[in-house]
Amino acid sequence: MIAEEHLDREALEMAEALQPIHHPPETFFRKYIWSLDHKVIAKQYLWAGLIFLLVGGTLAMLIRWQWAFPGRPVPILGRVFLGDSGGVIGPAQYMQVFTMHGLIMIFFAITPILIGAFGNFCIPLLIGARDMAFPWLNALSFWVFALSLCLVVGSFLGDLGAAGAGWTTYPPLSTNVGTPGSGQTLMVAAVFVTGVSSIMGGINYITTVIRLRAPGMTYLRMPLTVWGLVLTAVLNVLFIPVLGSAALLLLFDRLLGTQFYLAGLATQGGGDPILFQHLFWIFGHPEVYILILPAWGIVGDLLAFFSRKPANWYRGSVLAMVAVTTLSAVVYGHHMFTTGINPLLGQGFMILTLIISIPAELLFLNWLRTIWKGSIRLTTPMLFALGMVFVFGLGGLTGLYLGAVAPDLYLHDTMFVVGHFHFTMAAASFVASFAALYFWFPKMFGRSMSEPLGKAHFWITVVGITLVFGGQLLVGYSGQHRRLYDPFVYQYLQPLRALNRYTSYAAFALFAGQLLFIWNFFNSLVRGPKAEANPWKVGTLEWSIPSPPPIHNFDHLPIVRRGPHELSSPEVRKRLGRDWIGQAEVLPDERDVPAASPAHG
């Protein structure tokens, strides 16, 4: 025991030497603009993400309006943004609306909130570090992201309108052949620039987790949230360069007259539109997991915390997440079953795709077994975590149809696909983001959010999401294509008019329901009751320091002794009279007993 204590002290001294406490910045500029504090950068990402979430959501309302009332003037918004056409969305504007909705939501709303904000906020705090490994790079990555936001705004002001080639930006439509004008160019550039930012962030996250874990914080004692975030960072660093190269070649085609993606009568040489699809989906499929892995991690932790139980088979969940990360690189071809793909390749991608359902099932089973025989507290974060399991269940299960070639021949490019990926990328990622926000809000801002308002927000959000994206699945199953300005020009889609309209009503309600969140968020920010250090009574490291934490997080770096969810341990109950124990907490006479229990029990 003495030897181990000695080692601990040595590790601690090294860690302290590696992360000295600096003076807090004093100028406004260094405090709020060019701050090196990961917690401030997290909030910068959060604000940016929430603002663009509102923009993306508003665009979604325009799409829903068009499907409910094709060609009818849009109330309020139409007068502001579509004055020239008397408030009516025209076909050319419509394609800009859905293109910008998709790109903004994926790259400029979910990504900054889930990865930028919670990645920055959680990683150092949860592993017991004073900041990121490269604080300066961290600030740079935010401001590069901010530059990409300027390009997005610029795209809206483009000479021929905003980008319009769909979020997938398939050439030749996305070249000057289909969408000339600066709007499309600026948006491709924005995706490229935001990719640069993501790569810098990813390198920082990975290095931080490898280098700055507190003494005793072994990989298998990290909260699942950290696992999710770091695996996402790995995928970002590996695959965003591929997206970057696809975007760069597209910019060359648009600006320099190259023909990488052009083919057909008017071209000379060997361009190929399908090349872009390969590059895009080599990134694009991992992207789906980039956006869901942090959500899985967060939900895995929260379900354990609020069931007052250790997460079921922690090691299995970690393994499953690593397996998904690995497999995500070799399934992308299922997006291309109808492109005339080689049949052998198509079938290979199908088999690999279906194999991903094994680790996904393991995660689900672990979640379900975590809440079993727990002591469930239905707090707002817990409700959102359970809601994520529900909506991701729908999203994951509907993916089965699309992973297999034959059903995909019918379902590909229908609203069924749209419903499926909204349940996974939009619903599950955002519901988990809300869970995280309600959970870490006290730590971030030092104040508590209103629970009753949070619960009302939960019900509106999850019921709304289920109705809206469920409606999309149903019309897609019935054959409605995606991206149709007016679906009802088709005779066989006429009967779906009412369902489309009801789905739009649900979407309007879902959007309006977010006002509850906006009110709760700002009101709590200003007037919420002061939060204590550990309001949820859980043991991860961030709850062992004040809310909000001081700039250097930990006065003394902790020595970690156990896993993240050692809840309801009979021994702790007996000695401390409570059901939780901090990851770095020392039991009264712990030095006398053999080493602390390992993370996974």
């Binding site: 030749p172 289909g178 399908i274 299995g316 109808t338 002591s375 070639v405 059903p407 369902l499 309801s568």
Partner: protein, 261 residues
């Protein structure tokens, strides 16, 4: 048994009428998978509701990491069971359907009554071409139409699909079949019409502002009527043929392009 019709509700939800000989396989896969998936989802929801009701704050949580071998082995076994049954069913059905039918162009090509159609997609219409009596494409007797495909009942219809400008996707929902139209490439698809009637063609791939207007129609008629129509239309074509009009000669030689990329 027509399960899709059972699912057709008051909101117009349901698979479009299947007018092809092969589409039932896709319908069956969708229905069977839906049953499996529905059951799994139901079990999941019941489990969650039961846990919330049964194991509330007054219940003392069981301190269990689920990490003993006797415990995690069940997690793995259940996951594998679901995989083998649900994914396995889908996988086997798809492999059979794709290899024997949907992507088995060689078989379709060998059928003596097969009809060959070239489709040239462009913003925002479908140009359609039949070889005419000489059996050769891009000759004076070719039948060329816009957005209209006429097919005889019960004969395999083979399509070669290309595009002159951007990506499109030639989709006939009632035949459960679509294939992308890619500039610089000829893609293939086939199905066998099994019901007389008119079935809509749509473009499934975003192709610009008027994507939604890129409609067409498949007319399935009795074989005798088809032959009549083809002969009459071909005679018309020969009369109207203009060798100077290069733009109208967009057809390609069928045999050269049967290789799938």
């Amino acid at each position: 048994m027509n399960l899709p019709l059972l699912l057709a509700g008051p909101l117009g939800v349901g698979l479009p009428v299947d007018a092809s000989k092969e589409g039932w396989r896709i319908d069956e896969m969708i229905i069977v998978t839906s049953l499996f998936v529905g059951l799994i989802f139901l079990i999941m929801v019941v489990w969650m509701v039961w846990s919330i009701l049964r194991y509330g704050p007054e219940h003392e949580a069981v301190f269990d990491h689920g990490a003993r071998r006797s415990s995690w082995i069940w997690t793995v076994l259940v996951a594998l069971l679901i995989f083998v049954v649900v994914d396995g069913d889908l996988l086997v059905r798809t492999l059979i359907a794709v290899n024997r039918i949907y992507w088995n162009f060689e078989w379709a090509e060998q059928q003596r009554n097969a009809i060959r159609v070239e489709v040239n997609a462009h913003q925002w219409a479908w140009s359609i071409r039949y070889a005419g009596p000489d059996g050769k494409f891009n000759t004076a007797d070719d039948v060329v139409t816009l957005n209209e495909v006429v097919l005889p009942l019960d004969a395999p219809a083979l399509f070669q699909v290309g595009s002159t400008d951007v990506l499109h996707s030639f989709n006939v929902p009632n035949m459960r079949m679509k294939v992308d139209a890619v500039p610089g490439t000829i893609n293939r698809m086939w199905f066998t019409p099994a019901k007389v009637g008119d079935y809509e063609i749509g473009c499934a791939q975003h192709c610009g502002a008027n994507h939604y207007k890129m409609q067409g129609m498949v007319h399935v008629v009795e074989p005798a009527r088809f032959q009549q129509w083809l002969a009459a239309a071909s005679a018309n074509s020969r009369q109207a043929y203009d060798p100077q009009d290069i733009g109208a000669q967009w057809g390609w030689d069928w045999a050269e392009h049967t290789r799938v990329r």
